[in-house]
């Protein structure tokens, strides 16, 4: 009896251990994020006040608050497992945000709670990095050209708008995630969340201008479930 209990406990611990990380060959949630309606027209950024950045572009790049692709694809949407998956320890490699041409690359950077975040300045001008955190601590640091990367981490999940006060057109988003099951929709609006152990999940899609949506999905074995999100575009 006692051995059986111990055995069951062992199984439970093993199961818990496998739950704490992605399972190669597990189930997959994939799909597309699209919009309906008319999204706000993205205006060309006037970088004339920062010639060292302006000259890097043949034509002024557009703002990135809503980035769309063919067939109503919506880019830069963070799709992630918001419930059903356990919290995970951060990976050892750093997430990198580059400031280049007075823009944030990538525009949306997702990384895990307590994962190292590195911010580099590849421009010939000073930036100040000002992530406007509300749940985590808000800080604001100057980074002149040629200075080493700024290193930081966040200890709570949050979507944090990032801005540079010197160059008011610079906007980006940090997505601080609790686990490794996240994906950012590409130019075709597509996303993939692989390696999911069997279970019930809540999938959330977050867009910096259009807010968030959730859907429930059940995964059994190594199946691929299709989940699509449609956001209502606002014309302003």
């Amino acid at each position: 009896m006692r051995t059986k209990q111990a055995f069951m406990a062992g199984v439970a611990i093993l199961a818990a251990a496998t739950m704490t990380s992605a399972v190669p060959g597990g189930g997959t949630v994939s799909g597309k994020v699209t919009y309906e309606g008319t999204p706000a027209k993205q205006k060309p950024i006037d970088m004339s006040k920062e010639p060292s950045c302006a000259k890097q572009y043949a034509a002024p790049p557009p703002t990135e608050t809503v980035v769309t692709g063919p067939n109503n694809a919506l880019e830069n949407v963070v799709v992630y497992i918001s419930a059903g998956a356990p919290d995970e320890p951060p990976p050892s490699q750093a997430a990198v945000l580059a400031q280049k041409g007075c823009r944030y690359l990538p525009h949306v950077l997702a990384f895990q709670v307590n994962q190292e975040l590195k911010i580099t300045n590849e421009d010939q001008t000073s930036h100040n990095i000002h992530p406007l955190a509300k749940i985590n601590r808000e800080w604001n640091k100057s980074q002149p050209p040629g200075t080493p990367p700024i290193s930081d981490k966040y200890d709570k999940m949050e979507f944090i708008p990032v801005k540079c006060n010197v160059h008011p057109w610079m906007h980006g988003t940090f997505a601080v995630m609790k686990n490794s099951h996240y994906s950012i929709s590409g130019a075709d609006g597509g996303f993939t969340l692989p390696d999911l152990p069997p279970g019930k999940y809540t999938v959330t899609a977050f867009h910096e201008s259009y807010g968030d949506q959730t859907q429930e999905v059940s995964i059994a074995g190594s199946e691929t479930k299709s989940v699509n999100f449609v956001f209502k575009a606002k014309p302003y």
């Binding site: 808000e138 800080w139 640091k141 100057s142 980074q143 006060n165 160059h167 008011p168």
Partner: protein, 287 residues
């Protein structure tokens, strides 16, 4: 021998009982110098003097809040401008105490130096009950401010170079008049317009008036505003040079730095060429 042993026990028990008063702050207490502030007493003061602007719940949504140009501090968010601690960290009790007594120049926050030290410390203790951050986070370690270097022309000139190199002028303007190219676009973390400091028209800063205060302002940054921290990019010895130069931008305020700068041909020409317009917050300045 036996008596000795029991005495030892008594000492130990007494020491244990005394522990909380030996540097370990009790909940709802703050220590500023020799003064211990109590949140219970601070509560009475808060709901007499502070809540009209800072709000019943300390969230900055008091009755007068919407009418103020610079919104009252939201104590629930616990983001504070004037700190001796690094950007992104909570201020020390002394920082909050100093802010209450000093007030915020060019804002509607008066200097509460009409209240006693005890009352101000009590207020600080109560203000700290609004945000759970005070339970989960510790205040940052105050930044080290080395002894001030001598005020020399070389120091001022080096400070001027730093002002250009670090692009302080992007917001504060070439002459520190709050009219840099980015100035009209600045907003604080509440999305309210905010103007960079106009050195030419002001003597006091938001967080004090001394060289020491000025050093802390740019090294820690003013959290919740566009003013970033330069702690990672300015060496302490260079920082004093920048302080000395910034003083010369305050052309309407007498200072040893300005007096020395005026003795040089370069400085005298620069200062003479300046026309003083507007207020320290930047109002009335042509952008």
């Amino acid at each position: 021998m036996r008596a000795n042993k029991s005495m030892q026990w008594m000492f130990l028990a007494a020491a244990l009982l005394a522990l909380p008063s030996l540097g370990i702050a009790q909940q709802g207490e703050v220590h500023v110098g020799k003064v211990t502030g109590h949140s219970d007493a601070g509560k009475q003061l808060y709901y007499r003097f502070c809540w009209g602007c800072h709000g019943f719940h300390g969230d900055g949504n008091g009755e007068n809040g919407p009418y103020l140009n610079i919104l009252p501090r939201n104590f629930v968010a616990a983001t504070f401008k004037c700190r001796s601690t690094p950007t992104g960290t909570l201020p020390t009790d002394e920082d909050l105490y100093d802010s209450v007594g000093r007030g915020f120049n060019n804002s509607n926050m008066p200097a509460w130096n009409s209240l006693t030290k005890q009352q101000r410390a009590d207020m600080v203790a109560f203000i700290k009950t609004f945000s759970p951050r005070w339970k989960t986070d510790k205040p940052g370690d105050p930044i080290h401010v080395p002894a001030e270097s001598a005020v020399t022309l070389d120091s001022i000139k080096h400070g001027k170079e730093l002002f250009t190199k670090l692009e302080c002028w992007k917001c504060h303007g070439q002459e520190g008049r709050g009219d840099g190219p980015s100035a009209p676009t600045l907003t604080d973390s509440n999305d309210q317009p905010i103007r960079p400091y106009n050195f030419a028209a002001g003597s006091r800063f938001k967080c004090g008036a001394t060289n020491h205060d000025l050093y802390k302002i740019f090294m820690t940054g003013l959290d919740g505003t566009p003013m970033p921290s330069f702690a990672d990019v300015i060496k302490p010895e260079d920082a004093w040079d920048l302080v000395h130069y910034l003083r010369t931008l305050q052309v309407t305020t007498k200072s040893p730095e300005l007096a020395l700068w005026m003795t040089s041909k370069e400085g005298a020409e620069i200062v003479k060429a300046q026309k003083i317009t507007g207020t320290p917050t930047g109002a009335g300045i042509k952008q």
